[in-house]
Symmetry: C2
């Protein structure tokens, strides 16, 4: 085999440059003109749209309703919760001019919507019959970013944020965990094919204003961690500040217990970095906007016709399919482009294939080409798509598990976290150890039980700390 110059920088050579190359060459996204903002190109946005559809469906199944709250929040709202304002103040974008005049009270562009949503929950919630109140919003938010990186950390990003109010602490905690498991984890593992570790954030890493932050952490191909989503218990602090009370069945006025939870366009970055290889992206079939592309090898009319007719059949079978008959561009270059974009299956039809009434089927994650009779292609493709989905998750899981090392003191933790995740008893590490690791840019990603499950409370004994470098 002749060594080919690859179209992207190899991961092993320079991972950040590999990521940047994939963003550019797969036409996913690029920098916006204002520092830290991004332009999401059609293919990148199609990935996000598919994520939205899958997450939205699960959020609705969990009983929450979508709504929409304003982008602009009076500055005074943020000051109502002290941890919250302290956490977000350094990142705010502030509008001081509106309609040609200086504003009497500046407004902030929402960095998150706890304050404005809770101001309304306070009006809408009166009785225990109104609880739980489960609201979700899909929106853009802004956090001024000093070290931006496309999809991973941008001044403006797209997300969903859920905000709920409950009659009891237990109901709030249970719902936050339900979202973590049934919405986020299920989506990430079953659709994105990304295995995630779940757990609690330490006090140092908690969301500003939360009493408890649950999270999902994934390992990228460079062994760094990416926080894929969070689900917070807010306790009663916002309820107290925004006076969100209800009349219980016994006629007492009580404050509600709350949660908030979100996943964002950062998941697109996670998708790229969790599965990508030196040929570009690998997109799992259940997520893929295009699951299969039927490529006309040459421009012969009967070849092009066969491609379209096969695509029609595949579409009827429920496969998200595209035809590539752009034969002005060489076949090799087109094949490389579909690989770059991570399209799961390629079906190639050339004049010789057609003569033999067959097509060549190539999986993005395989190396072999299969010759398949034209009539069998739909069945083969459906089977191969399913197989690819399972294989991508299995590969990512096995690889991640091989990079998690159990350690029992600070120095081995530090070492292990340079090339993977270090797992260490939280009682051994403690907040002092956590602070020590922070000097080497290593953080505790989450606290979880030894069996990997979510604790019932931070105070449980024998919790394990997962330590890693992170995005």
């Amino acid at each position: 085999m002749v060594a080919q110059k690859s179209v992207v920088t190899p991961q092993s050579e320079d991972f950040p440059r590999w990521y940047q190359d994939v963003l550019n060459k797969a036409e996913l996204a690029e920098n916006g003109p204002v520092r830290g903002t991004m332009v999401i190109r059609p293919y990148g946005y199609a990935l996000w749209e598919r994520m939205q559809a899958e997450v939205d469906q699960r959020i609705k199944a969990a009983g929450a309703d979508n709504a929409y709250f304003p982008l602009f929040i009076p500055e005074s709202y943020l000051h109502k919760e002290s941890d919250h304002v302290e956490g977000f103040s350094p990142e705010l974008a502030v509008v001081t001019m509106g309609g040609g005049r200086e504003l009497a009270e500046p407004v902030v562009v929402r960095p998150t919507s706890e304050t404005i949503i809770n101001a309304y929950l306070s009006k809408w919630i009166q009785s225990h019959r109104d609880l739980p109140m489960l609201i979700n919003q899909w929106a853009n938010v802004v956090r001024w970013e000093m070290r931006p990186r496309i999809f991973l950390r941008t001044t403006e990003f797209l997300w969903q944020e859920g905000h709920t109010a409950h009659a009891s602490q237990q109901s709030a905690r249970t719902y936050a965990a339900k979202i973590l498991h049934e919405v986020y984890r299920d989506f990430m593992e079953q659709v994105l094919a990304i295995p995630v570790l779940v757990g609690y954030k330490t006090a140092a890493e908690r969301f500003p204003g939360a009493i408890n932050s649950m999270c999902l952490e994934a390992m990228m191909r460079d062994t760094k961690a990416l926080q894929m989503g969070t689900s917070h218990e807010l306790g009663q602090s916002f309820a107290t500040m925004f006076d969100i009370t209800y009349l219980d069945a016994e006629g007492n006025q009580e404050h509600v217990w709350q949660t908030s939870w979100g996943v964002s366009s950062r998941m697109v970055g996670g998708l790229i970095m969790a599965h990508g290889d030196d040929r570009g992206m690998v997109v799992p079939p259940r997520l893929a906007p295009t699951q299969a592309v039927v490529v006309a090898v040459r421009s012969d009319a009967n070849v092009v016709e066969a491609c379209h007719s096969l695509a029609t059949e595949l579409h009827a079978k429920g496969v998200r399919v595209k035809v590539d008959d752009a034969t002005d561009t060489g076949f090799g270059r087109r094949a490389t482009n579909w690989e770059l974009k991570g399209v799961p299956m390629r079906v190639e039809i050339g004049p010789r294939d057609l003569e033999q009434q067959q097509a060549t089927v190539v999986s993005r994650i395989g190396t072999e080409k299969q010759a398949v009779g034209l009539g069998d292609v739909p069945a083969v493709l459906v089977r191969e798509l399913d197989r690819a989905q399972q294989a991508i998750l299995a590969t990512a899981t096995a690889w991640r598990d091989s990079k998690i090392v159990d350690v029992n003191n600070l120095s081995t933790a530090r070492e292990a976290a340079q090339v993977g995740f270090a797992r260490i008893p939280w009682q051994v590490l403690g907040t002092e150890g956590e602070a020590a690791l922070a000097k080497d840019a290593i953080s505790v990603r989450c606290l979880q039980r030894a069996d990997g499950s979510l604790p019932q409370a931070m105070e449980e004994p024998d919790l394990m700390a997962i330590c890693a470098r992170s995005y």
Copy 2:
């Protein structure tokens, strides 16, 4: 019949108050804390989500791809097109502080995205093979609003904005008209059941920066006009300012021809005001997030069970259905609430219905109650939903047509536009007549051919001007 106190102010008594009552009582939306912003509540947002889904599907069928561009635009971008900056400057929200510091260059919150999108089309378009480039974005935009009204005119609103680049003026014009007819008009008439007049805006009413604005205008129940959507030909002005050129097949460098087009959350206001009556909203079945509600008249276990089992059957038939078994609240009040929300069909089941194995079917637009055997409900409902869709459009069309009056001079135009739309030859009215009508808050909503079709060009003779008061 005993006169009942209606839950909303009658339209004939005070139309703006009727609108406000419907917004509140049907729990659609309310004012945000920053002047001119709005909070869209779950039911209002569900209507918008259905609109998005239907419009998005048509946009994709028209060949455009979704993408996402930043909320923040450098102030200097807006200054590149002189009409554009003049049109939008008075409405801008300006961010002057970011990340705790004063910004070197202030950024504006997008009022529309022509400038930022065209800056990128300029990079992406190289050759005639890249054309047409068809981009759409779903986003929030901000235009500081001095006289806000929920859904109709708000400081922040939700919309889609399409931006396309073409090799020829004819291609751009044809595409702008395609969007007008195949996406917008089809959606408005077939889904919203709102008949629309199409035509060109006069020079006075044109989008800032366009050479030609096509529009869709609907009549509200108070006989005022609402602009439901627009599709603009931008000519080559943005292409020149942002240097968007392509190499044609002969090797010449040419500027592209462009379009932009949008519909917004204002359509929710249009939906309310086009069909609503003194009992609240009327939502056409094809749009309705809930097409039918199965109401348990009493809390008897077998009644509630029968409701759920019927709903399961209806769901299987593709009906978007909800069960109302909130029997804590009186039946009459619940029935009134579903009417307020405009849910097309109500199926009531009480103990006596159940004894006779029947249900009572009530259409939102009818007055009679039908007793229907339980087994026949699904078929009856599917038929009635279809019938209601047609009836709502037919009623709105007949009523609107009865309020369009042909006139032939300024004073009769002024008179007719007080109680409907006045149609007058554009040659008779002219820009002077247009300016005279403006003094009475009457505007030319559009110029169209006598047969109601879209002209090929503004210069066509015998165009008719539709004049009205408007939102």
